[in-house]
């Protein structure tokens, strides 16, 4: 079974962001990391690999050349190989263009299952897993907090709802997106980090995956950003020291809630 784990290089949430003239984020100015949610998909793929003897896992990354660090990080968890799509024309890709590029990269690949994080910490649109499934014409089991793959090629997932779940079953090939509740990701071992440096990394440009520059990046996107402005920092309001009995704090908060008409 060949599993694909799409991974994304994202700016660290804690980092300050600068915006370029074309309203994309200046990704060179901020520290970039492997999208946290992708650690759960990698972990889930690794567990499948460890539970059976026929599994190969391939990381798939769309991003600038510098995203190679992210790809190597993904490989350090024990993945087998990676495909990186990098091309100056992919910059500014929205969710639709991203899904189109990822799908095109898989057009000539053999694969059975795609496991990915439910969202990226920068865009947070949650759109890409379902869009990728649509481009590939396969079912998607999204927001999975439990995943089971049967020997008969069946896939079953518990999809997280508010407090509960729905169980959905389909057949491979399929796309699965996972939420944090699904597992506890491991840390890469020293051996894994060293091995990651030597694992095969197949770098491709848009032409190699059969797309024209007009099908990716700003040109290939179906949405556009008209304006992006830093939000002015919020002024902190009153700070009230409680007297240790709770009475002072409670009264101040009730008065505030009444004033703001929440009570």
């Amino acid at each position: 079974m060949r599993i694909i784990c799409p991974v994304k290089r994202v700016p660290d949430t804690a980092a300050e962001k600068k915006v370029n003239d074309d309203l994309t984020v200046d990704r060179d100015s901020v520290e970039a990391i492997l999208n946290a949610n992708d650690e759960w998909s990698i972990e889930e793929a690794m567990r499948l690999k460890e539970s059976r003897d026929d599994v190969e896992i391939v990381a798939l990354c769309m991003g600038p050349e510098s995203a190679q660090q992210t790809v190597r990080k993904a490989l350090s968890y024990g993945l087998d190989a990676a495909i990186q799509v990098t091309d100056s024309a992919i910059e500014g890709s929205d969710a639709t263009a991203t899904a189109r590029v990822l799908a095109a990269a898989l057009a000539d690949e053999e694969w059975d299952l795609i496991i990915m994080g439910n969202q990226s910490s920068d865009a947070r649109s949650m759109l890409v897993p379902a869009m990728l499934a649509e481009y590939l014409d396969v079912p998607a089991l999204t927001y999975a907090k439990r995943l089971a793959v049967g020997d008969d090629g069946s896939v079953e997932a518990d999809r997280e709802t508010a407090g509960g779940h729905e169980t959905v079953t389909t057949q491979l090939p399929a796309v699965v997106s996972v939420v944090e509740a699904i597992n506890e990701p491991r840390y890469p071992s020293f051996k894994g980090i060293m091995a990651a440096k030597k694992k095969p990394l197949d770098t491709r440009d848009l032409a190699a995956i059969g797309l024209s520059p007009e099908e990716a990046g700003h040109a290939g996107s179906s949405t556009t950003v008209l304006e992006a402005t830093p939000k002015p920092p919020k002024e902190a309001g009153d700070k009230v020291e409680d007297d240790g009995t709770g009475q002072v704090g409670a009264k101040a908060l009730v008065d505030f809630l009444v004033e703001k008409k929440f009570i």
């Binding site: 949430t13 946290a36 949650m126 089991l141 779940h165 389909t170 179906s222 009264k251």
Partner: protein, 324 residues
């Protein structure tokens, strides 16, 4: 003229509050017609109630497949509703399962999606959507380009639902051609959480949340009492869900849900940037924390420096008294 179709969500025939909000938004910004698309068991009953919020037509599909299979039957139905209505734009509540339907539909119709809008305006035949990006650090204005219907996701509580005083919407039953592929992912079981009587977290106008400072699982009983006094939902920081004190689905933050309620009341939460990325677009933020240096105080409209176990009980008592 921009004709807007609102994808209405309902529970057994009662439209969700957020759908009424979005119908109101469509009515306020649109210069054309407002229609509703409603799918699944109870859709016809829900159609009776959308006229009040401004929909003049309701495109209804009650196919059993909508509830028996994940996502794809509704994608086919939404494509049919867009064709039947000739809508220029589709507004939907930015909720995970609905996002899936819209994502597939946008690809299928060659269009794009702007998710998580908090404000909308019309510029010619285009909807310009305002949204927070990068965890609320920045604001942006976005629009869908191209020829297909524009898909815009709207965050709950961005608009107040207001009665438009309209009569019953005209009901149009859709005929939906389901491709065989639409029934690939079968729903075999649905497990609902025990009914808490509280609003859903992502839809709630008020969220009371708890973090590491609760110290133990029992702390969420207190958080629940405060939430109930205020008619709000219960949220949590990652520290609290990681500790197993409350289900992961309550987690707010970078790896959890993004919420923007009218009031966010954080208890025992220090306010790491990862948590703030999920909640700092709340309109009003109140904080109770023992640690006067906690970073969350810097974004609070009111901060109480105190022991939440001491402050919350008299707070609940006083709220209940004032509500009389």
């Amino acid at each position: 003229m921009t004709d807007i179709l609102v994808l209405v969500e309902h529970e057994d025939g009662t439209p969700k509050k957020v759908s009424n909000q979005i119908l109101t938004a469509a009515k306020q910004i649109g210069d054309g017609s407002v229609a509703a698309a409603i799918f699944g068991a109870g859709a016809a009953a829900a159609a009776d109630k959308v006229g009040e919020f401004g929909a003049t037509t309701a495109y209804v599909w009650e196919g059993a497949e909508a509830d028996e299979y994940a996502t794809e039957p509704k994608v086919a139905a939404l494509v049919a509703a867009i064709e039947a209505s000739g809508a220029d734009a589709v507004l939907y509540a930015a909720d995970p399962f609905v996002t899936d339907v819209v994502a597939r539909c946008a690809v299928r119709t060659g269009s794009g999606v702007v998710a998580d809008a908090v404000d909308l305006e019309l510029d010619g035949d285009r909807i310009v959507a305002s949204k927070a990006i990068f965890g609320g650090d920045m604001n942006s204005m976005c629009q869908v380009t191209g020829d297909g219907a524009q898909f815009i996701g709207v965050k709950p509580n961005s608009f107040q639902a207001e009665s438009a005083g309209g009569g019953a919407a005209e009901v149009v039953e859709l005929s939906v051609d389901l491709p065989e592929s639409a029934t690939r992912a079968k729903i075999t079981d649905v497990v609902e959480a025990a009914a808490s009587g509280r609003p859903e977290m992502t839809e709630a106008a008020i969220i009371v949340s708890g973090g590491r400072g609760l110290g133990e699982e029992e702390g969420f009983e207190l958080i629940g009492e405060l939430a109930d006094a205020l008619g709000g939902a219960v949220g949590a920081s990652r520290a609290a869900t990681d500790a197993g004190w409350i289900a992961h689905s309550h987690q707010i933050g970078q790896t959890g849900k993004t919420v923007s309620p009218q009031l966010y009341l954080a208890n025992g939460i220090s306010g790491a940037i990862q948590h703030r990325a999920g909640m700092q677009t709340a309109q009003t933020i109140a904080v109770i924390n023992k640690d006067a240096e906690a970073p969350i105080f810097s974004i609070a409209d009111i901060g109480i420096v105190g022991d939440l176990y001491k402050v919350i009980p008299p707070l609940v008592e006083e709220i209940n008294k004032r509500k009389g």
